[in-house]
Assembly symmetry: C2
Homo-oligomer: 237 residues x 2
């Protein structure tokens, strides 16, 4: 299956929305960038890059949602990070000149700007701001990952499930109704993030439903009692 190339000559649209990684660049920088990128669309489930592959580009999510995941024990998937509009992906391996240690998969139909590797690395030399911004992002990811480590080490599955729902909310927010999570996952994917079995994930969501913390409608999850969810997570954020 070949991906569509969209006609998206520059990053003005994204930058105008104020949520693009390339916000930092001035007008001149942006138009130069435009010469070295193409916009590609991916259907839900398609891979943007693959674990163990070498990075050839920096990706910037224009529209859609992406998960970064890796295959662990016995083929079990682990979701490591979630990517929302305006976020970049593939920077860690690119900037440190390593293979990818996880794969990027579109969790809904997505449109992604692909910035040539060499151009980007050159640009970080010309615009040190860009490099500092990458450092800031990797630092944030490291902090998030280490918070996840503490959670996995010290919290039970119920607390981690509550945390996961709060994390999904923090990342993608709500639909206009102000309660329904603006993202859907299969129960298995949720289990893969929480670090539990699919059955346990299903059971816990049903329990949260019975406890009037959430409401379930297929894959849609509505958080009807946020204070109680926060209490269930037993955390400060």
């Amino acid at each position: 299956m070949s991906n569509l190339k969209e006609n998206n000559p520059d990053c003005t649209t994204c930058v105008a929305h104020g949520h693009s990684f390339f916000n930092i660049l001035d007008k001149e920088g942006l138009s130069e960038l435009a010469l070295h990128k193409t916009c590609v669309t991916y259907k839900r489930g398609q891979f943007i890059f693959n674990e163990n592959g070498f990075p050839h580009a920096l990706y910037c999510l224009n529209r859609g949602k992406v998960k970064l995941c890796t295959i662990g024990v016995d083929g079990k998937e682990q979701i490591l990070r979630l990517v929302k509009t305006g976020d970049i992906l593939g920077y860690r391996a690119l900037i440190s000149n390593e293979r990818y240690h996880c794969s990027a998969v579109a969790i809904e139909d997505s449109s992604i700007c692909v910035v040539d590797r060499n151009y980007f690395l050159e640009a970080t030399r010309k615009h040190p701001q860009l490099l500092f911004e990458v450092v800031r992002i990797i630092s944030r990811d490291l902090k998030t990952a280490e918070e996840h480590i503490v959670s996995l080490s010290q919290r039970n599955v119920r607390e981690r499930m509550a945390e996961a729902l709060l994390f999904f909310k923090a990342t993608f927010g709500f639909l206009p109704d102000g309660q329904t999570l603006n993202v859907t996952f299969s129960r298995e994917e949720i289990a893969d993030y929480v670090g539990t079995s699919t059955e346990s994930a299903i059971r816990l969501l049903s329990e949260f439903n019975q406890d009037k913390i959430i409401e379930l409608d297929g894959k849609k999850i509505k958080i009807t009692n946020l204070p109680k969810l926060l209490k269930t997570a037993n955390t400060n954020d």
Copy 2:
């Protein structure tokens, strides 16, 4: 208790050993660095910096060993990273201009170079290599953290304990006998890294001992059957 300031005028010693972060700098860069750093010694158990504090310096471990840890649920400590000679610490918060999200504690008597914050940030502008090196290190930490996440999500306590011993070996190596780990931890600290209870950690180490995988002598751990330990960890590295 006040810390001793050692007379260590430049990084030549460390750099000569080929394991200092500041290897990258040329002679001129090193002597400039020397003007902006002091060397401080810490006794075992002393804090180099504290969770939630603001970074005022970059630290470079000259001699000794350090753990980065955070206080999680109910005051339980979580060991997040281990620092060996030549490694820097405190870079994440410093470079991304945030508070520390973990504390640094000497796990044995240590000697640490303290590089002034402003000088270091300035130096990263003058020597972009330095910034790229920090990126490389944070990237490695992120990868390590995410591998730990997969392990905590998908492996049982026995496998994680075997992994932990292999990690201690990979970080600090062996004593000259080629079998005894060149680092000692309390059983509680090991439990805090593995993400289990102290009793379970004690029990598992006893089991490994009975299974002739390791030999215990107080806090000293001798790996007597590395192939069997690798098999127990059930991992590829």
